[in-house]
Amino acid sequence: MDGAGLDGAWTRRWIEAVAAEVARRKQELTALDRAIGDADHGENLDRGFRAVLGKLEALDDDATPGAVLKLVATTLISTVGGAAGPLYGTAFLKGSMAAGDRAALDAAALVEVLTAARDGIVARGKAEPGDKTMVDAWTPAVDAAAAAGDDVRAALQAAAAAAAEGAAATEPLVAHKGRASYLGERAVGHRDPGSESTSLMLRAAADTA
């Protein structure tokens, strides 16, 4: 498969893997959110991705990456709620628009998709890097994918590794957006749950590619 682009079947495998990982780690995500938010991130994402799994079954077998991402977007927007619903919904929607009707994504297309997703989150949530949000995982991931060269799988591996580092790097930060921002200094020492779920999603993308 080396050298081949990432097709609709991969997109579907990726999303199924995200759903499985979210289900497996929902307590952990909720625990991160309990520390500096409102203790619902894992539950909300799990509800959303379970709904996505149900809808994926009805999708055509030859659906493009863009079509799969669009289905994920609309389902998350209508099932997740909270801040994560509109933010991830927007990310997948912008990603699907960037993917267009391509049958498969090469490295350049992947970078376009990731960039569009990140830009969508920034536009909706108005967070900047360093605000202790999911943007702190997305931005290094986009940069790493862009710097990784022509191999789409290497680009995804680089993105996943950078997102994990980005998520860990939110721990010493004071939050400037979202509910954790009310904590001031007391948010220091806790990882942002949105950055961790972003890291989870990109890790699943790399592992299924």
């Binding site: 309990r34 509800r47 997740v80 709620g81 619903g85 979202g178 509910r179």
Partner: protein, 334 residues
């Protein structure tokens, strides 16, 4: 944590179903998409529609305020989680009588984002929507480096007065202006003695030692200004009132509505102990308490605690406060 529930995943569904059954004379419930609590006679011809909503767990907010003279629809989300845009859009459609719809949104990131999306969708369907964001919580000091002040118990007064304006036939612009005026003149500060536990979570949302209280708490148990050792009620009331009075600021000869709000697990008798001291302090300052409301209206599940809200009023606002209202949780003059 013991809870009087059947299934943690069904607490909102079953609570809304019970609410609908108990108050069938006031509301009807649309269950697809889940859940929209709508005034029984909506859309009321010629009237601006008022829609609010947010995470569940703050009852009677918002469904308890649906009815004559207040909200036309409430959209309950999952526990402490904003509703998604679909039910907000459905509520907007259900109450639109052609005069436009006002969304009243507490300033929490999730609520703002989901209502924003729903308003865009409503606009695409030709419904005129205006949005008023409520941010009455003085506990959040630095709005520049946070998501901004939170919408807390003052939301009740925004909904009541804007609801009265809509009921008397004001235009959408005018109802929105009333809502913004109320928001600009209302200030709240809360505190907690004990945390609350979301039904599907195994642990409380935060922890407080036996002798600790949190001053400046939000309505999901998000921390506020400081954590201090428990003090007598009067001292705590002073701590809550001081930043409220300074913030607007409230001045001598001002007339106010004083709302002492329980967080869900506080006995009414303690709320009156709080009220007693608050009224005493306001009298010392020469501030005239024109109306009082004491009860648990904007809650955080079973949290023990209280918030104090002051709304500066003139004759017009006082008239809107006094106007008839008939909802499950507020009822007077009708």
């Amino acid at each position: 944590m013991k809870k009087l529930i059947n299934d943690p995943t069904k607490t909102v569904d079953e609570g809304v179903a019970g609410f609908a059954a108990a108050h069938a004379d006031i509301v009807r419930v649309v269950v697809d998409p889940p859940f929209v609590v709508v005034r029984q006679d909506a859309p009321v011809p010629g009237k601006v529609g008022l829609v609010s909503g947010g995470g569940s767990g703050h009852e009677p907010l918002h469904a308890g305020f649906v009815g004559f003279g207040m909200l036309d629809a409430a959209v309950p989300g999952a526990m402490f989680t904003s509703p998604t845009p679909d039910p907000i859009l459905e509520a907007t459609k259900q109450v639109d009588a052609g005069a436009g719809v006002l969304h009243i949104v507490k300033n929490y990131t999730g609520d703002v984002l989901n209502f924003e999306t729903a308003a865009d969708l409503a606009l695409a369907e030709g419904i005129e929507v205006q949005t008023v964001i409520v941010d009455d919580d003085v506990a959040v000091k630095d709005s520049l480096y946070t998501a901004g002040r939170r919408g807390v118990a003052g939301t009740l007064l925004v909904e009541k007065l804007a609801g009265a304006a809509a009921q008397r036939g004001d235009s959408l612009d005018r109802v929105a202006e009333v809502a913004r005026t109320v928001n600009s003149r209302v200030r709240t500060m809360g505190m907690a003695l004990s945390p609350c536990t979301v039904p599907h979570a195994s642990e409380p949302s935060f922890t407080l030692a036996e002798d600790e209280v949190e001053i400046g708490i939000g309505i999901h148990g998000e921390p506020g200004r400081e954590r201090i050792a428990l003090e007598p009620a009067d001292r705590i009331v002073d701590r809550l009132l001081e930043p409220i009075l300074e913030d607007l600021p409230f001045a001598k000869r001002d007339r106010v509505v004083l709302l002492v709000n329980g967080m869900g697990g506080t006995p009414q008798s303690e709320l009156y102990i709080v009220y007693r001291r608050a009224a005493e302090v306001l009298a010392e300052r020469g501030i005239d308490v024109a109306r009082s409301l004491v009860g648990s209206y904007v809650t955080s599940l079973e949290m023990q605690g209280v918030s104090i809200t002051l709304l500066q009023v003139d004759d017009e606002l006082l008239g809107l406060y006094d106007a008839p209202v008939q909802t499950a949780a507020l009822r007077w003059g009708r």
